[in-house]
């Protein structure tokens, strides 16, 4: 398929009276890294959650991999997707959270195998083998028997990335993956993400790490109060912002 991986046209979302997304347009091409920046409360998490069916957008056209999110177009009608179909869609999209959200009662290895075994129905030994490969890739093969509470934040976030990768996703969403980390731990997580980007994974990254955006992103989107204010090549957008709002935002984060 030649279409973009994610295509948003006029996506809107509101919660009880609050307009959070007010017509977002965005295109994420395959094998590209897209960074989403913007002030707190601008709707970045909400947009990611809509892409991953964790929230339902209430207007506009949102497609992932050419398919409408939440609906199926057949015979000129829109059919709401069943819970089961939504689960299948979600299993193909990896998500990494600001607060890691590792399963606290499972070991590192079990965290990385559970999705494979229970959702993808992979045999247990094959899942374990794959999990060990992925843990080695994020540099944590020595920690497989540990519980998440026994790991540092950076290690936990790397396990979370391995857990998402174990589902062989076609798209990875990162919601401020380094915001909860001590400054000296940010680098180890960003390194894993850079490695992932260079392997050709399609990624949408919500981040305040402008250095990462500049270095890795193919496109940067600046979201402000529910609309995309500015977008384009990171060097251009971040170095010579056109809008006043982006200028004042950048002066605060940098």
């Amino acid at each position: 398929m030649t279409s973009a991986m994610v295509e948003a046209r006029g996506v809107c979302k509101h919660y009880a009276g609050v307009e959070v997304l007010r017509g977002v347009n965005l295109t994420v091409n395959r094998s590209e890294v897209t960074c989403l920046i913007g002030p707190s409360g601008s709707g970045k998490s909400t947009l990611l959650r809509c892409i991953n069916h964790l929230e339902k957008h209430d207007a506009g056209d949102l497609r992932v991999d050419g398919q409408l999110v939440g609906y199926e177009a057949r015979d000129g009608k829109l059919y709401e997707r069943s819970d089961k179909q939504i689960c299948i869609e979600r299993s193909q999209i990896g998500m990494v959270f600001q607060r890691f959200n590792l399963f606290q009662h499972l070991t590192v290895l079990e965290n990385v195998t559970i999705g494979q075994v229970k959702v993808k129905k992979v045999a247990a030994d094959a899942a374990t083998k794959r999990a060990r490969e992925l843990l080695a890739r994020v540099g944590l093969d020595a920690k497989e028997g540990f519980y998440p509470s026994q790991l540092s934040g950076g290690q936990q976030q790397r396990v979370a990335i391995a857990r998402a990768l174990a589902m062989d996703p076609k798209l990875m969403l990162f919601d401020e993956p380094t915001s909860a980390l001590d400054p000296e731990l940010v680098g180890e997580v960003l390194d894993v993400m850079k490695d992932l980007a260079s392997s050709g994974m399609t990624m949408i990254v919500v981040t305040h790490e402008m250095g990462f955006a500049r270095e890795v992103a193919d496109t940067v989107y600046f979201l402000d109060s529910g609309v995309i204010e500015e977008s384009g090549d990171p060097r251009q957008v971040l170095s010579s912002p056109r809008s006043e709002r982006l200028k004042s935002f950048l002066s605060k984060v940098l």
Partner: protein
């Protein structure tokens, strides 16, 4: 600190006078109680015997707690049968309570009002009426429902037809009454466990493509167990004792067995003590089981799991021994300057 040579001063620990005094009072009180437990008193009767043609009478004395009678009945078959009934009833009622309770808790948390309202009403009703009343109610339910017919309301369709009088023996009535009542309490315990699990865990489970059922079963419940187990242990122990209410509807459980015996021989206190000792023993065993269950479900929650009671006892003993062995703690002279 204290390792840098002989340059050390002695540290004088604080003396806790109040604690020592309180401790002494408690020890005296315990001693008094202990004395009554092992003391003997006159029973109020006299026993007479004739030795060498001389008849001598003297007052009978016995343990204040009649330990001889307590232990005579302690392992009697009647008491042991009662004990087995008590345990069977506890297990059955708790099983009904836990399964139904978790179900009600899940319904209560459902976004659908169709499920959450009945769950709320259930808890409201069964918590709002005394368990003893419910027990009597179930035992006598054949008065208003002589037969149990399962079918569609208002339609001539029936799947099952049962006679309530034969169905509800004292045992089944007690199991149903205590189980249904317990479900109301268990549902609140389960609900508090379920809502204690961070929402992010559910989001992570969904983002892996797990269904609601999978995320509940594989992610939320196992973590909720850590919160659910301690109060559930409480409930089991409480249930063990609540089963004694069933003696009032003619079930010969532990208390029932004891009352039957003392109804015949008037040894009320010794038999109540016999029953109490058994309740205490079972409760103790249950508490130990609860500890290990908590340890199991707490895995991953704490960086270092709590020690087992044995390990704690060992470290306590080591602590006491070292108090007598090692010299008083000392700091270097540097610290004084």
């Amino acid at each position: 600190m204290s390792s840098d040579g002989g340059d050390e001063v002695k540290v004088v620990p604080v003396r806790h006078v109040g604690r020592w005094f309180g401790g002494a009072v408690i020890i005296v009180l315990i001693g008094m109680l202990g004395h009554t437990i092992i003391s003997k008193i006159p029973t109020g009767q006299r026993s007479c015997e004739t030795v060498g043609g001389v008849r001598a009478c003297h007052p009978q004395i016995n343990w204040r707690f009649s330990w001889n009678i307590v232990f005579h009945y302690f392992t009697s078959s009647e008491i042991l049968h009662g004990l087995v009934k008590t345990m069977e009833l506890t297990v059955l009622a708790m099983a009904i309570g836990i399964v139904l309770g978790v179900l009600i808790a899940v319904m209560r948390l459902s976004p659908s009002r169709l499920l959450s309202s009945p769950a709320w009403s259930y808890t409201w009703f069964f918590r709002g009426t005394p368990v003893f009343v419910q027990l009597l109610f179930w035992f006598n339910i054949s008065a208003i429902y002589p037969t149990l017919t399962i079918g569609l309301p208002f339609l001539p369709v029936t799947f099952l037809h049962l006679d309530m009088v034969t169905l509800l023996t004292p045992f089944t009535a007690a199991a149903v009454a205590l189980g249904l009542n317990e479900a109301a309490y268990m549902s609140e315990i389960a609900r508090s466990g379920l809502i204690s699990v961070d929402e992010g865990q559910v989001e992570a489970a969904s983002s892996l493509g797990m269904t609601r059922g999978q995320s509940l079963r594989l992610v939320v419940l196992p973590q909720a167990m850590r919160i659910i187990v301690p109060p559930t242990g409480n409930e089991v122990i409480s249930m063990l004792k609540t089963t004694s209410l069933a003696s009032s509807i003619g079930l010969t459980e532990l208390l029932g067995a004891a009352t039957n015996i003392y109804a015949a021989n008037y040894e009320v206190m010794p038999l109540l003590i016999t029953a109490s000792l058994w309740y205490l023993i079972v409760t103790t065993v249950l508490s130990i089981g609860q500890f290990y269950l908590e340890r199991y479900f707490g895995r991953g929650a704490l960086r270092t799991p709590p020690p087992t009671p044995l390990a704690r006892l060992r470290s306590d003993l080591r602590g006491i021994v070292s108090k007598f062995r090692t010299p008083r703690p000392s700091v270097s002279r540097e610290a004084l300057r």
